[in-house]
Amino acid sequence: MDNTPPICPVHEAPADVHRILATCHQLSRQIAHLRRVIQGCWILFALLLPGNLWLAYRVFFTRVTGSFALFMAVLNFALSLMNAIRLVRHTISNRIEARRHRDSCMVIAKLLGKPVVHVLGPADPEGALPLPSYPRLWSLLQYLLPKTIRVRLFTPAHEDLKADYYTAYRQFRSKRARRWLRFCFALRTIILILGCLWTWGLDKLLKWLTTLLPAPLRQWWTIR
C-alpha cells in the first residue's frame, strides 16, 4: 500500500470558486495536451528523417522543444499553485468533485504538509471517488473467442477478474501503482483468453478421442 494521501471531495465551495477552478483546470489540461502533441510531433518528425539529417535536426530542435517543454511545465505548475491558493483563500461551502481538482488538492496537501483528508475534512461516503471503469479494450478482446466459449467460460471468469481489478484498484492510488495494475490485469486478460482456448481445445480433443473408445468405456467417460 502506498502512502499517498487520499483524495476526498472538497466540501461546500462558493460557486465562483468552482467556476474559476474549473477554468484553470481546463486550461492546464489543454496546455498539458498541447505539450504532449508537440512532443509527439517532434518524435514523429525525428523518426521520419533519414539518418544523417536526423542528428542535425535533433541537436537543433532539442533545445527548442526542451525549452518549450520546460516553460509549459513551469506554467502548468503555476496554474496548479494558483488553483491551490484560490482554494485555500476562499471559504469552502459547495461540494466539488475532487477528481476534477485532483492537482489542486495535491498541491494544498504538499504546501501545508498534511494529508488532503485533514485539510478538507473527512470524506463523505456518498461523495467518494468512483473507480475508473474496466478498460474497454480488454473487454473487447473477448470477441476473439467463439460465442460458446465466450458465454460459458470467458464471461463469468472475466467478471471475477473485474471484481478483483476493482478491489485492487481501490487499494492503490498512486499513478505508478495503477499503471502497474492495469498492465497486470491486461496480461491476466490475455492469459484468460488463452486459457479459455486451451480448455475448449482440450475438451474438443477429448470428445473426439471418446468416439474412438468402445461403447461401454465411452458411456462411462461421457457421464464424467
Partner: protein, 107 residues
C-alpha cells in the same frame, strides 16, 4: 447400489453449495482450501458441465464495487443435483461401512 454419477470434484462442489446460492468466486476459494486448485476457465468449464447435467442452476447477480457494476456468476443446487449428491454420499457411506466390516465378500 449403482455407481455414483458424480466425480469427487463435482461431489465436493455440490457439498460446498449446500442449500444456498453461492458465487463462483466463493466456490473456487473453497475448492482451493480443499487442495483443488483450478484455473478460472477450467473451473467455469466444470461448472458449465454441471449446469448441462442440470445439477446446478447458474445465474448472474449484480454487485457494486465502489459504484462499478460487476455481474457475478452464482450457482444453486437443483433437485436432480441434490438427488445425485445424496446417492453419491450414500454410496460412499455404504462403501466405508463395508470396508469397516472387512469388505463385502468377507463380511
Amino acid at each position: 447400489m449403482p455407481v455414483p454419477t458424480l466425480t469427487h470434484l463435482q461431489f465436493l462442489v455440490l457439498q460446498i453449495l449446500g442449500g444456498s446460492q453461492r458465487p463462483g468466486r466463493y466456490l473456487r476459494a473453497e475448492l482451493a482450501k480443499n487442495a483443488q486448485r483450478k484455473s478460472l476457465p477450467a473451473f467455469y468449464q466444470m461448472m458449465a458441465r454441471l449446469e448441462d447435467a442440470n445439477f446446478v442452476e447458474g445465474s448472474y447477480r449484480r454487485i457494486d464495487i465502489d459504484d462499478q457494476p460487476v455481474q457475478e456468476r452464482c450457482y444453486k443446487i437443483t433437485a436432480p443435483g441434490l438427488k445425485a449428491y445424496h446417492s453419491t454420499r450414500d454410496f460412499y457411506f455404504q462403501s466405508s461401512l463395508n470396508t469397516a466390516k472387512g469388505g463385502v465378500i468377507h463380511g
